[in-house]
């Protein structure tokens, strides 16, 4: 009967539709919730049969250079050689470049921890002690004592480093990336060398000399923004260091201070305002991004700026703009107020880099073997493999020093030095072990101006060691209170900085500004920081 058949037909369609919608509805949200680069198997059981070769799961961020060339670290010569030498094979999990912090949060929240995580645990909220309490990392003191002789010896020989890497309770929690060599400072002030020569000017050292030079750039070279920078460079420990205060928390003898709360901050603001009103400071500094700033340097609209030796100076010198055939750069010493004074506050990396430190998680079934494996990177042999690669292929010994071969410095596939280094070694960014070997740095920097810059910027590094806050950690409750207070203070400080510098707020109102900071609780914040410092000193 046609009626019955039609009814059956409807039922079939409705059921199929319903079931397919159900299936679609079930699968799509899962795809949304899974991170785009979910690891194939983030098994908590990482390692395999102990009597066979060790296999570890390893979560680490890949820097941009490396990510462009490889899908994971196993494609790099360094890790392939490492596997041959140690017998440990690694399964890498890499977060997408740019979203490392989010992916780390997701990793922790998921509870599916790999065997080893590489991350900056000094920025873990509540500090490394909390990470241990959260069962994210294992304390390593015993493991290092028994299975990591190289690292153990290094820490005994360098108690200052040991103090940096342990928690307030004395727990070692990571195999750190430790800076060796004289290259902790890798950025600073730079000027157009050809302009200085043309105008017969010396490199400026004091703020007064800077004013003279910037005026000359403006009047005689027609630079519309003689000194250019981005907002981060204004709020960071750059120019403000001339007044011996920091852009945020810093150390003055034994007390923690907050730069924007100090009296000298008024002088800094007044000077910046003067430069801004006179047109010596880029009018767009508060809104422009790195690209816009680059444009001004390359178009000769600016003659002075702040940049890093490698990716800044290196990049500019590699591509001399056609509009300025005499383009040349020179690094200037961090500015001071009086002639002959030494710079005391400027941006420098910590010896304990923070980034690129490896921890062992409770999910690791073979912590002893893992500790031993990580310790290899602290041995002479492991460090050489990591920093210089394979003799004959990536370096040659010349007069007792390792010199990179053309494979690295003049790569036949057209890779830059940084990219080639990422492909064959693991040296250009922090990694567990020693980083910043001078022999590597001297060769990473191709240009003489860069080599010179490295020396200039690092000349007074020992001063920074007494003005920079060491790696202090706040307890979980302190961290919450501190972040509450600082969220508001930083908003207010950032707004007022711009208002003072750009002349929207008369500098006479500085006292009202200070009073407001007090009302927001800056004293309490300093107390909390000081407490953390005291605990650090007792480590």
């Amino acid at each position: 009967m046609p009626y019955v058949r039609r009814k059956g037909w409807h039922a079939a369609i409705a059921t199929i539709l319903g079931v397919s919608l159900l299936a679609a509805g079930c699968s799509t949200p899962q795809n949304d919730k899974k991170p785009a680069n979910a690891p194939a198997n983030s098994n908590a059981k990482g390692s395999e049969n102990p009597s066979g070769p060790l296999k570890l799961s390893y979560w680490a961020a890949m820097p941009g250079d490396a990510a462009r060339l490889m899908k994971n670290y196993n494609e790099s010569l360094f890790y392939q050689e490492l596997e041959k030498k140690t017998g440990v094979s690694v399964e890498f999990q890499h977060p997408a470049v740019g979203s490392e912090a989010e992916q780390f949060n997701l990793l922790i929240a998921s509870g599916n921890l790999p065997d080893v995580i590489e991350y900056n645990f000094t920025s873990y909220p509540g500090g490394p002690e909390k990470a241990i309490a959260d069962r994210v990392i294992l304390p390593l003191n015993d493991l290092i004592e028994s299975h990591a002789p190289n690292m153990k010896k290094y820490l005994e020989d360098h108690p200052a480093i040991k103090k940096e890497i342990i928690t307030d309770m004395g727990t070692i929690y990571a195999f750190p990336a430790i800076g060796v060599g004289n290259s902790n400072v890798s950025s600073g002030m730079m000027l157009r060398k050809d302009w200085l020569e043309e105008l017969g000017l010396e490199k400026p050292e004091t703020i007064e000399e800077w004013t003279t030079v910037l005026r000359a750039f403006k009047e005689q070279k027609g630079a519309s923004s003689p000194l250019t920078m981005t907002l981060n460079e204004m709020t960071g420990d750059r120019l403000i260091g001339a007044w011996n205060i920091g852009g945020s928390f810093y150390l003055d003898q034994d007390s923690v201070k907050y730069g924007p709360y100090e009296a000298a901050y008024k002088n800094f603001l007044t000077q910046m305002n003067a430069w801004y009103e006179e047109g010596l400071l880029d009018q767009d500094f508060s809104t422009q991004d790195g690209k816009a700033k680059d444009g001004k340097v390359v178009n000769s609209q600016s003659g002075a700026f702040i940049a890093s030796i490698g990716s800044g100076m290196g990049r500019y010198l590699n591509a001399i703009p056609e509009s300025a055939p005499t383009f040349d750069l020179v690094a200037a010493q961090h500015p001071v107020l009086q002639k002959g004074a030494e710079p005391t506050v400027f941006v420098a990396a910590y010896d304990y880099r923070g980034d690129g430190s490896a921890v062992i998680t409770p999910a690791n079934q073979h912590p002893e073997e893992t500790a031993q494996w990580l310790d290899y990177l602290f041995s002479e042999e492991g460090n050489f493999l990591k920093t210089f690669g394979v003799e004959g292929l990536t370096y040659e010994m010349v007069d007792g020093s390792p010199i990179y071969t053309d494979l690295i410095t003049n790569n036949p596939e057209g890779l830059t030095v940084g990219e080639a280094m990422s492909k064959y070694m693991r040296v250009a960014t922090p990694a567990p072990g020693y980083v910043g070997d001078d022999r590597y740095n001297q060769q990473y920097y191709k240009f003489d101006q860069q080599k010179e810059a490295m020396v200039i910027y690092n000349q007074y590094y020992s001063n920074v060691e007494s003005t920079r806050l060491p790696r202090i950690t706040q307890t979980a409750d302190e961290a919450q209170e501190l972040s509450s207070i600082m969220a508001e203070i930083e908003t207010y400080k950032d707004e007022m900085l711009l208002r003072f510098v750009m002349g929207l707020e008369p500098i006479e109102n500085f006292d009202k500004y200070v009073a407001q900071l007090q009302a927001m609780g800056i004293e309490r914040a300093l107390e909390l920081r000081q407490a953390a410092l005291e605990r650090y000193k007792n480590r």
């Binding site: 409807h10 039922a11 369609i13 409705a14 059921t15 539709l17 319903g18 079931v19 919608l21 159900l22 509805g25 079930c26 949200p29 949060n105 922790i108 929240a109 909220p125 509540g126 309490a133 959260d134 069962r135 994210v136 907002l231 009018q283 767009d284 508060s286 809104t287 422009q288 991004d289 816009a292 979980a476 961290a479 919450q480 972040s483 509450s484 600082m486 969220a487 508001e488 930083e490 908003t491 207010y492 950032d494 707004e495 900085l497 711009l498 750009m502 009302a519 927001m520």
Partner: protein, 300 residues
């Protein structure tokens, strides 16, 4: 219940079809609501949901006591008000205008061209805005030609809301007009004929036939918009603001984003979210009731 059963027997297949959708909403939107409870706890990842301690209203109080609370609330509401006043009517007016176009080829071209900005990712749009409004940007050049001083508009708090709303209109007017055009198509053409016989010109037809015809849709969408008054998505603002413009641009969600960046403040962020959701809900109910009283249109 009896009525439901009867209806079910009559339209069995409709119920089968809607069942997966209802299940989806229940499982993925209603069940997870228990998570909002972390607003009243100090959520610690390692301890998980059950073991994190209760703290009552601590996060709410911390937010209300914040120095910037009133400014954040004000900026959020004002921005939404601007959107309601300018950005909401724009697609309606646009739809009415498109409806008046006679040449069908031109009509289609206009529609396609105006839809396209909707598909451009927000990040790209914000990048474009930043470039165009830079000191030497193309929009700045245009405005200087029209008599403005050369300046970077994004550095001035008084222009932020205008930039936000205008770019929103540019991006959304084409796409938003689709639903209104669909409603306009649904108006009985006999009404137009009757009005023409009564001597109505195009203006009169729009005011007395088209607009009343799409009023139900307008009211529904309006009520839904009111239900979002305390939400302003933070992505666009984060990409366009800077400390210069905090005073008008900093809204609840951007402040919480900055604060949340300093530590994993899940509970705090959730508390703010709950606060916003509760207010939005109250506004939604009020708007719906109000609309029901003054006209016959309402969401429910």
């Amino acid at each position: 219940m009896n009525g439901l059963l009867k209806d079910y027997r009559k339209h069995k297949y409709l119920y089968y079809m809607i069942f997966p959708v209802v299940l989806y909403y229940f499982v993925f939107h209603y069940v997870p609501m228990y998570g909002a409870l972390i607003a009243f706890k100090d959520f610690r990842i390692a301890e998980g949901f059950i073991n994190s301690p209760w703290v009552g209203f601590k996060h709410f109080i911390s937010f209300f006591d914040s120095y910037y609370f009133w400014r954040l609330l004000k900026n959020t509401l004002i921005l939404n008000l601007y959107m309601l006043v300018f950005s909401f009517p724009a697609p309606i007016i646009f739809a009415l205008l498109i409806n008046e176009i006679v040449g069908s080829r031109f009509k289609r071209v206009v529609q396609t061209v105006t839809y396209l900005p909707h598909f451009i990712s927000l990040i790209v749009v914000c990048g474009m805005i930043t470039q165009f409004l830079a000191r030497d940007g193309i929009m700045t050049d245009l405005l200087v030609w029209l008599g403005m001083d050369r300046q970077v508009l994004l550095a001035h708090p008084q222009y932020f809301r205008a930039i936000y709303v205008i770019s929103d209109i540019w991006q959304g007017v084409g796409w938003g007009s689709i639903i209104y055009l669909a409603a306009i198509m649904g108006i009985n053409p006999e009404l137009y004929e009757a009005s023409r016989m009564d001597g109505a010109n195009r203006w009169r037809q729009i005011f007395h036939i088209t607009l009343p015809g799409i009023t139900p849709i307008i009211v529904i969408l309006f009520i839904l918009k009111i239900g979002n008054m305390l939400d302003v998505g933070f992505e666009k603002i984060i990409l366009l603001y800077n400390p210069n413009t905090y005073v008008t641009a900093d809204v609840i969600s951007t402040f919480v984003y900055r604060k949340g960046l300093q530590s994993f403040e899940f509970s705090y962020a959730t508390a703010i979210g709950v606060f916003q959701a509760v207010i939005n809900f109250i506004l939604l109910i009020a708007a719906n009731r109000f609309s029901k009283q003054i006209s016959e249109n309402s969401l429910w």
